[in-house]
């Protein structure tokens, strides 16, 4: 991925970062509805959180089940800082409140991470789970700090406005988040290009060998954990500003699981994978949950399929296809892609109809037996609907399997051709 370049600077890199900045600036000008405004703001927050999680998972091989502890505690400290400013007991500009969250993230990572990073592998995962449960249990006990069930609320319109920016309107808070997102993404990318960042990769690959080239692996993990905690805290602080309320669920296991799931879906093996993951996370939590009550089930299914068939996540799928495209072979395979897409859609329609009927029977049975699914009226207690759905699903599944086998063959052939091409170029 990355290598030591002798060129004075890398043009491709400038183009990519400029595009990223342009997307951040233009997004709210393209998606102008109220809903998309909050979605975009949440995406920025989720991108920072998922990238900070990936410092552990993708770059350090540390499977944490408790990353929400650091985003969540960052949120709480940030909202308390905001309220202190509101009460007139401190003078921190609103723009720096997320940094307070970041410092809190560092503090808690220094404290809790010391225990956590003593071990690697499975014990590490267990300890993170334990710490997460501990913090969540405390959130129910100490209501002065965590605000009990109601949470802690605040008001981000505080202090003097600079150039008329009060951070009251959503668009203003969006741009604050966008600036933080850009800087944090850049800093986290920069981290991957430093000695500690590279040794962290080495610790992921082969911790034993690292001990024999002079590095204390425990310390490498600890330092990386603190850095991840910093960015997690910033993400939490931005969340506190964005929602103006922080409840105990931000340190909960569900949130931690979300980071893991979507970082993985986006792709932990590439730097930009968690960016995709963060975007998907917000889309799923905000949009998918509006579409259907069964959204968690669909999400679980997607996660399962990805773990089994594409363990590198969406990022690795993109990179594999870019490689195929760079050798001009994508045109050989696009028909198969289209067929895969159509057949999986058919399967999904059949399966979705049945899932929706089950949910309807369980949750909405008082509303009668009929429901509307993709414009078709289904009878949840009718044989026709069930038979039809099953038929569609099985047909889709059968066709999908046939297409998939064809696709695998074509894909294999293309890989062989690419290998040959590489050999030929090397020889030339």
């Amino acid at each position: 991925m990355s290598s030591y370049k002798f060129k004075p600077y890398n043009v491709g890199r400038w183009v990519i970062w400029s595009l990223f900045a342009i997307v951040l600036i233009c997004a709210p000008l393209v998606f102008i509805s109220n809903l998309s405004g909050t979605i975009l703001a949440q995406m920025g927050i989720a991108i920072i959180a998922c990238l900070s999680y990936n410092i552990l998972l993708g770059q350090g091989g540390m499977l944490s089940f408790g990353h929400a502890v650091y985003t969540g505690l960052g949120s709480f400290v940030a909202i308390h800082a905001l309220n202190t400013v509101t009460a007139g007991n401190a003078n921190i500009p609103v723009t720096l409140i997320p940094l307070v969250g970041g410092l809190a993230g560092i503090g808690f990572a220094v404290l809790l991470g010391y225990v956590t990073t003593k071990k690697a592998g499975t014990p590490f995962a267990m300890i993170t789970l334990g710490v997460a449960e501990l913090v969540f249990a405390m959130s129910l006990m100490f209501s002065e700090f965590f605000g009990g069930e109601a949470g802690i609320s605040g008001n981000r319109v505080v202090g003097q406005s600079v150039w008329g920016i009060t951070f009251g309107p959503q668009i203003q808070i969006y741009y604050l988040i966008a600036i933080y997102t850009f800087i944090c993404v850049a800093l986290m990318y920069a981290f991957t290009q430093t000695p500690l960042g590279r040794i962290l990769n080495a610790v992921r690959d082969n911790p034993e060998r690292v001990e024999f080239i002079g590095y204390n692996t425990q310390r490498v993990r600890y330092f990386a954990f603190i850095i991840a905690g910093f960015f997690a805290g910033i993400s939490g602080g931005l969340g506190a500003l964005n929602f103006e309320i922080v409840t105990a669920e931000v340190v909960g296991a569900g949130r931690s699981g979300g980071y893991l799931l979507f970082t993985f879906l986006g792709g932990a093996t590439f730097f930009f994978g968690p960016i995709i993951g963060g975007i998907l996370m917000v889309l799923a939590f905000v949009l998918l949950s509006e579409f259907t009550k069964a959204w968690l089930l669909y999400l679980g299914l997607l996660f399962l399929i990805m773990v089994i068939y594409a363990p590198g996540g969406i990022a690795s799928l993109i990179m594999m296809n870019l490689r195929v495209a760079s050798f001009g072979k994508l045109k050989q395979i696009w028909v198969s892609y289209l067929a895969l897409f159509v057949t999986s859609l058919v399967t999904l329609v059949g399966a979705g109809a049945m899932i929706e009927m089950i949910y309807h029977l369980q949750l909405n049975s008082t509303l009668g037996d009929t429901l509307i699914f993709m414009g078709v009226t289904l009878n949840a207690k009718g044989v026709d609907s069930w038979f039809g759905s099953l038929f569609i699903m099985l047909t889709g599944l059968g066709l999908f399997e046939a297409v998939r086998r064809q696709f695998l063959m074509e894909w294999g052939d293309i890989q062989v051709e690419i290998e040959k091409e590489i050999k030929r170029r090397e020889a030339a």
């Binding site: 030591y4 430093t194 000695p195 080495a202 082969n206 001990e211 080239i213």
Partner: protein
């Protein structure tokens, strides 16, 4: 003057089993020592004790006169001792260049820093390039280590071991699993890259042993029963009894 490496009555028990039973050895700076002995004699355990992978049950290990038997592997490495492994132990998902750069980072003084870009660590990069050329993998610079051939991976293993600039090098069966022609080439490579360093190597191939070593240490049942020049060891009565007398070993010597 102190020895580069000295073992004093070193013992190691696993449970009730004594694996190393009072090993003594004193290696002068700049010597090449081959450690030989039958299977299960404790050669690899000896390496694991010296490099800090295990702690000894009793006894002393001195590196340049300094006691190291209670130190961790990374502390021992920082004091100037580096080892390779019998089963290839590299960073499979990093490129050849990154493997070597990781190996030189600590000794180049970069430690745990994250305030400097790797592209600006010119001395570490130059050093990594130098070692890459030395082990003749400079053409495979950006290839992931897991995509190298077996012999190339063995060379990278040696490269990572020597790149840190340690002056005491332990090689655990560097040529294991290699073909005859590969072994011959590899031995000359090892000789080249360890010039001026103190070298200890575990080796089964007698041809390699007599071609490479200034001195031979014979380990049998957890003890060093002989430590001398190859000629003296060959004529040593106890060694002949324990190990060398077999026709197979004689044949191997003849071939090289």
């Amino acid at each position: 003057m102190s020895y580069a490496l000295e073992l004093k009555d070193l013992r190691k028990n696993f449970g009730k089993t004594e694996i190393i039973r009072g090993a003594n050895l004193a290696v002068n700076t700049g010597e090449r020592v081959a450690i030989i002995g039958p299977n299960g004699a404790g050669k690899s355990t000896l390496f694991n004790l010296i490099s800090g992978r295990f702690g000894p049950t009793s006894g002393e290990i001195l590196l340049n006169g300094q006691r190291i038997e209670n130190k961790t592997p990374y502390e021992i490495n920082r004091l100037g001792l580096s080892r390779s492994f019998q089963i290839t132990n590299i960073f499979p998902k990093l490129s050849v260049f990154e493997n070597l750069r990781c190996a030189v980072l600590w000794s180049s003084g970069y430690k745990y820093t994250f305030m400097k870009f790797l592209s600006d660590t010119k001395d570490a990069n130059d050093l990594a390039m130098k070692y890459m050329e030395m082990i003749r993998l400079d053409k495979k610079r950006d290839l992931l280590a897991m995509n190298l051939t077996y012999a190339e991976q063995r060379a990278l293993e040696i490269g990572i071991t020597i790149a840190g600039g340690s002056n005491v090098i332990l090689l655990d069966e560097p040529t294991s699993g290699m073909s005859k022609s590969e072994t011959t080439r590899f031995i000359s490579l090892i000789k080249q890259v360890t010039v001026g360093k103190t070298l200890l190597t575990v080796e089964h191939d007698m041809g390699v042993v007599f071609g490479l070593a200034d001195k031979i240490a014979v380990v049998v049942y957890g003890e060093v029963i002989a430590y001398d020049t190859p000629e003296a060891v060959r004529s040593n009565h106890r060694v002949q009894e324990a190990y060398l007398g077999s026709p197979v070993a004689e044949a191997q010597v003849g071939e090289h």
